[in-house]
């Protein structure tokens, strides 16, 4: 076989042409699917030129494409790829092409008072961020500060939008190091953030919070090795709208109370407006977990958790029993579940981003891909909500990397932090209404106390 291959290679060099067929999913850039003979010495750019040439009559501005053969990206020249993939030049090779994803050229900076620890942009057009300055902020898509909410006594570690049909009356939940969760109401019309409830039961810092897909429950994970479920329905939503002014004054009062160290009075006053929920719907202690760092939902019946003992656990929500445990090589810092592909992406403290398939029965085979490019701890990972293959990761090395899980090399790296010692702590995709893969922007926050929204010109035009 090898000798044959060599002969073939020689032939390839002599003929240096191979018949290919271009296909694509994107109707806008579709070209003829009749097989064309192309020189094998061509790489990515060469093939892009071929496509441009084929599309010339459409008068498209030159834009690079990415090419896949059997789900693998062409990163070298065509012949090398064919050789590595053990393909035959005799047959017609089907090449899938798609618009190359380019690094977002533009970014907006949103200044915080302190490190930005968490960010969520999953609600359309709005970004909520939590910071070590104890505040939660809601930002517009264009990077404009809409409102700030205060109330946490320690740094905010995690925020999550609660999806609601009511577009005007949005709510989100934040988790903090002060061992509490707070549910906030964001009134879009009034541009105000109001605290609805304070959920207290944890005995350690809360590292992660996530809302179930049906927006009925909240799950929180804490360093005290517990996972707690909370019901959103217990929190009266309309209450806040009526007594917003009182709440405001109360918060002021509370500040005063803080100064005088008269906590009990403050709590008493607070309790009138803010619901103090001191009992969770359900709680489970994760044995030997050394602290649960992240939770997520797959469906409304199943949860995921990642902990410091390097294990991914799959929980049955109704019984709160860990159905499955996937051991990983390093402590987890973050994970995300893709609704599109059913895969889990995890961030680890050993610099590696890993992709897992929870559906495969064999535990050793469940790891499908490991993406190695970060220089130190990976802090967060996110699936692109509109893509099966794309995710982004952030790291202590100050970079945001955008990955296609079909290739081991990141598609691009955003490295815009001025100081090399600054770290990126969190990132999120800002999803748009049209589910175009390339139509997205990434928001990231880190130790430079800035929320950075990375986007392309095209998106701005669309906006």
């Amino acid at each position: 076989m090898e000798s044959e291959n060599k002969n073939n290679n020689k032939k390839v060099k002599e003929e240096s042409k191979v018949k290919v067929k271009f296909i694509t999913n994107d109707a806008n850039i579709r070209v003829t699917d009749t097989p064309i003979a192309v020189p094998v010495r061509l790489g990515r750019l060469g093939l892009s030129e071929v496509i441009h040439h084929l599309r010339e009559e459409e008068n498209e501005t030159s834009k690079p494409f990415d090419f896949l053969i059997n789900g693998k990206f062409i990163r070298t020249t065509l012949d090398k790829h064919i050789k590595n993939a053990n393909l035959s030049e005799e047959q017609i090779i089907t090449i899938e092409y798609l618009e190359a994803i380019t690094e977002p050229k533009r970014e907006k900076e949103c200044q915080h008072d302190d490190w930005v620890s968490c960010v969520d942009g999953s609600n359309f057009g709005l970004v909520v961020s939590g910071s070590y300055d104890l505040g939660v902020r809601v930002w517009g898509y264009d990077g404009e500060l809409i409102s700030t909410g205060t109330g946490h006594l320690a740094g905010v570690k995690s925020v999550c939008w609660i999806s609601d049909k009511n577009a005007d009356n949005l709510s989100f939940v934040s988790a903090s190091m002060d061992k509490t969760l707070r549910v906030w109401n964001f009134n879009k019309s009034q541009s105000e953030i109001k605290a609805l409830a304070c959920l207290k039961e944890h005995t350690g810092t809360i590292e992660s919070v996530y809302v179930s897909p049906d927006s009925s429950r909240i799950v929180s994970a804490s360093m005290d090795s517990t996972i707690k479920l909370w019901s959103i329905k217990d929190i009266p939503n309309q209450h806040a709208t009526t007594s917003s002014s009182i709440e405001k004054s109360n918060s002021k009062k509370r500040r005063l109370a803080n100064n005088t160290n008269n906590e009990t009075a403050a709590v008493d006053q607070q309790s009138e407006i803010i619901h103090n929920i001191t009992e969770s719907l359900a709680s489970v202690t994760v044995p030997n977990s050394q602290g649960v760092t992240v939770v997520n939902w797959t469906t409304q019946f199943q949860m995921l958790s990642g902990s410091m003992d390097s294990k991914i656990r799959l929980w049955d929500v109704s019984t709160l029993v860990a159905n499955d445990t996937i051991p990983t090589p390093a402590p987890l810092t973050d994970l995300d579940y893709s609704m599109e592909s059913g895969l889990i992406v995890t961030a680890h403290k050993d610099r590696i981003v890993r992709i897992w398939d929870p559906r495969s029965s064999d535990e050793t085979k469940s790891q499908t891909q490991s993406l190695i490019s970060h220089k130190t701890w990976v802090t967060s990972v996110n699936w692109n909500p509109s893509s099966k293959y794309h995710c982004c990761s952030t790291s202590h090395d100050g970079t945001v990397k955008y990955w296609d899980i079909r290739t081991k090399i990141p598609l691009y790296t955003i490295d815009t932090l001025e100081k090399s010692k600054d770290k990126v702590l969190s990132s999120s995709f800002i999803s748009n209404k049209n589910k175009n893969i390339n139509d997205y922007s990434i928001v990231s926050g880190g130790t430079d106390s800035k929320l950075r929204i990375h986007y392309n010109d095209k998106q701005e035009q669309q906006q």
Partner: protein, 833 residues
């Protein structure tokens, strides 16, 4: 025996003469002489008749022969002697064996001839002719040479001698001891003519030299070579046969030969000989009155020669003196390899021969050839010299100055341990009072001192000495690279401590601040500025409390860091342990008056309160070290400057202080609580003491061999201790094994600052001023028989050196294989796997 030898020698001598003759000019071998030859033999008795010059010459030679023969005999004897002295080695003998055998045969021939000659004298006169004689003389030359050699050996060869004895016996039986010898020696030619008779001799049985009377009762006289009986014939005859035998006319002259078991009829000559013997006449043919002829050479003293004729060339004796001949013989023997020079043997012989036996000679060389132990002989005592004399020479006596100097000298430096003194006589010599002591010490020395040489075992491969350790790759996980840094301190970070859940890291620095960091984000959550450099920080190891103890200058402060926000309540346990017990309201029952506890209250301390500072404990001296009991209620501090009472144990909930140890020679440096037993470890500069707190007694003293202990740590299971010293040493102690180090690790190039065990994983680490952190695998087995396994894993070296200070403190993450280090470069670094 001797006789037989002599006879054989005579034969030799005779042949030698023949040899000499043969070397004479051809004139001798002229046919004329063939006539004269028999005449000479015949006319030996008629020697007075005139003879020709030639014959006279020959005669002269002839007559000379006895003399020459004697000389030869003497020579031979000398040979014997010399060779006996030389005492050939057995190897040489072997070389000779074959020759001997041959020679034996020859001799046998010769000597059997001796016997036979007697009977076959008639044949002698046969016309052998001188030519034949000469031819045979040539043979005899060969014989002679071999004979010569054999002569030197024959004394040893038993085989040849036995045969000769038999022959001699025979002659004895025949009672012809001397006569036949004389007879044939006079004429050598006879000797050769009698060759035929030797055939008869082949009949001679070989029963050996056995007394025949042994066989008197048997019908045989022995066994032949094939083991068959040799039957007696004659003796078995009955009287009739014997009578019939008498009818034989020769009966009267028949003699029975017992040995050969046959009858011998004596010839007329025999009879004549016997008769002449019986009549006391000389043996026929022997002239007792022969003319004595002196050649003249025999008298070296004579002034005038007997004749004036020049000494003929033929009389030149080429062999020279005896000595030269001996030397030549020996050189030849050496060259031919007959004699092998073995120096040792000869030396030994010589020494023995000297007669002076060195009684002490072997004592020194006494080497036991046992392969195991090589003993060294005990040193000999010095022989007494002139100093020891009762009357020493003047120069040995000490004058006053010397005496003074002697007294001032160190006893070990003195040339001798007594003062030499002079006495008139030996009987005035007093008793030596140190005698018994010296003898005793000598005896002690002789039997107590192990005197063996250690044999170094050299192996070709030095790697064989290395223990077989597992590979570091197989012992993962362990911290292997620097992951992140915690930046913020402005001066060297002296002490770090990690919270029991591994979430927060506290650090105390020379910039007078205490900081608490969130490990996962490297965020500094808390910072408190104090009056002076922070010496030590320590989290309470009990996870239900959130308490940090900090020691700086002469204060200890107990902090409940507001990590969950300033207003957040602390856990009820924390609050409970920090509330002031009601008993000590007015009269504090403090055992130790020098230590005071203060609750932080009041408006002036509001800032401190906000920072979570709850209690201040004032000490008289700087607190260098602080360590918690695992339950979190007690903690112990050391302030080495305080001297003897430097160790204090504080009871947090009762707010009481004890200083349990009163006496300590060197200031105590570090203390540790046992992880699960009421046992307390106190290290001073050299020794680690282990106390039982319940029984209040000392259990053990660990002898470190270290000059200055910097840090100790107890294995989580409690049976092993590691120690780091400022003299670069790291020692591992197994408390069950010994009070001495199980392993001493000398890897660091500068002072070791801290040694720690991992709380959960089989790891331990040491950090040093040489900027390196050494991470080891330290597996402790539950099996008491198995010693701990220590494998060096990794050297982490990323800190920078400032003022020769390197890594000041290290701490392991409680669960993960991570190690935090703080250095003089004001950074805190985290190394992960």
């Amino acid at each position: 025996m001797n006789k037989s030898k002599v006879t054989s020698k005579k034969v030799v001598a005779e042949t030698k003469v023949v040899n000499n003759k043969k070397s004479e000019p051809i004139a001798v071998s002229e046919p004329k002489k063939s006539v004269s030859k028999p005449t000479t033999t015949a006319t030996t008795t008629v020697s007075k008749s005139p003879v020709s010059t030639i014959t006279t010459q020959i005669l002269g030679k002839r007559t000379k022969t006895p003399v020459v023969r004697d000389e030869e005999n003497e020579d031979e004897k000398l040979d014997f002697g010399n060779i006996d002295l030389n005492n050939y080695n057995s190897e040489d003998d072997e070389d000779y064996e074959s020759e001997e055998d041959d020679e034996g045969d020859d001799e046998e021939d010769v000597e059997s001839q001796n016997g036979s000659i007697v009977y076959s004298e008639s044949e002698e006169e046969e016309e052998g002719g001188i030519n034949k004689a000469l031819l045979e003389a040539e043979e005899s030359l060969v014989e002679y040479q071999s004979e010569d050699d054999s002569g030197s050996i024959s004394s040893k060869s038993s085989s040849s001698t036995t045969t000769t004895t038999t022959t001699t016996k025979k002659t004895n039986n025949d009672e012809e001891e001397v006569a036949p010898n004389k007879q044939w020696t006079n004429d050598p030619n006879q000797f050769y003519d009698s060759d035929d008779s030797s055939e008869d001799e082949s009949l001679v049985n070989r029963i050996g030299n056995i007394p025949l009377e042994w066989y008197d009762d048997y019908d045989h006289i022995g066994y032949d070579v094939d083991g068959n009986k040799i039957m007696k014939t004659e003796s078995m005859k009955d009287s009739i046969d014997k009578y019939l035998d008498q009818q034989d006319p020769n009966f009267w002259r028949t003699v029975y030969d017992k040995v050969n078991d046959k009858k011998v009829v004596l010839s007329d000559d025999d009879m004549a000989l016997l008769k002449s013997i019986q009549n006391k006449h000389f043996i026929p043919g022997y002239d007792p009155y022969a003319d004595w002829y002196d050649s003249g050479n025999n008298h070296p003293d004579s002034i005038h020669p007997m004749h004036n004729a020049p000494v003929p060339k033929r009389s030149f004796f080429p062999n020279g003196t005896d000595e030269e001949r001996e030397i030549r013989r020996l050189t030849k023997a050496i060259r031919m390899g007959w004699i092998k020079l073995n120096k040792k043997g000869k030396k030994g012989e010589k020494d023995k021969k000297d007669g002076n036996f060195d009684l002490w000679a072997d004592e020194g060389e006494e080497k036991e050839k046992t392969k195991g132990i090589r003993r060294i002989a005990a040193p000999k005592q010095k022989l007494p010299g002139n100093v020891e004399s009762f009357n020493p020479p003047e120069e040995y006596l000490l004058n006053e100055n010397e005496l003074k100097a002697w007294h001032l000298m160190d006893p070990r430096e003195r040339p001798h341990n007594f003062i030499p003194q002079k006495y008139q006589s030996l009987r005035q010599l007093p008793i030596y009072n140190k005698l018994i002591k010296e003898r005793f010490e000598r005896c002690l020395d002789l039997y107590l001192c192990p005197r063996t040489t250690r044999v170094k075992q050299f192996t070709k491969d030095p790697t064989k000495f290395l223990p077989t350790l597992p590979k570091p790759q197989d012992l993962r996980p362990f911290p292997s690279h620097e992951e992140i840094q915690f930046l913020g301190h402005k001066a060297r970070v002296r002490s770090i401590s990690i919270s029991p859940n591994g979430q927060w890291l506290a650090s105390g620095s020379d910039d007078c601040t205490i900081k608490i960091w969130e490990v996962s984000s490297t965020r500094c959550l808390y910072s408190l500025e104090v009056e002076s450099e922070v010496q030590t920080v320590a989290w309470n190891p009990n996870p239900i409390y959130n308490i940090l103890a900090v020691g700086y200058s002469n204060k200890i402060i107990i902090i409940t860091p507001p990590l969950f926000g300033t207003q957040t309540e602390h856990s009820p346990e924390t609050e409970k342990i920090l509330t002031k017990p009601p008993t000590d309201s007015s009269t504090e029952q403090q055992q130790n008056k020098s230590v005071n506890w203060y609750q932080v209250t009041g408006a002036d301390k509001a800032k401190l309160l906000e920072k979570g500072v709850r209690i201040e404990i004032h000490h008289p001296f700087t607190v260098k070290n602080l360590t918690w009991h695992y339950k979190g209620d007690y903690f112990s501090t050391t302030s080495p400057e305080e001297g003897t009472r430097s160790v204090k144990i504080h009871h947090l909930s009762k707010r009481a202080t004890q200083s349990p140890f009163r006496k300590s020679k060197t200031p105590n440096q570090v203390t540790r609580f046992h992880p699960n037993k009421p046992i307390f470890f106190v290290a001073d500069q050299n020794i680690i003491r282990v106390y039982d707190l319940m029984k209040q007694e000392l259990i053990k003293k660990l002898i470190t061999g270290c000059r200055y202990i910097s840090s100790i740590d107890i294995h989580p299971q409690g049976d092993n201790v590691i120690m780091g010293g400022y003299d670069k040493k790291v020692c591992w102690f197994d408390l069950d094994l010994s009070v001495r180090p199980y392993k001493v690790l000398n890897y660091h190039k500068m002072a070791v600052r801290k040694v720690i065990y991992h709380p959960t994983l089989p790891l331990f680490a040491s950090c040093s001023d040489d900027l390196s952190i050494h991470v080891f695998h330290g597996m402790v087995y539950d099996d008491l028989l198995q010693n701990a396994l220590i494998v060096p894993l990794k050297i982490l070296k990323t800190h920078e050196s400032i003022n020769d200070l390197g890594v000041l403190d290290i701490v392991f993450h409680p669960k993960q294989p991570w190690i935090f280090s703080s250095g003089a470069d004001s950074t805190i670094r985290l190394y992960t796997n």
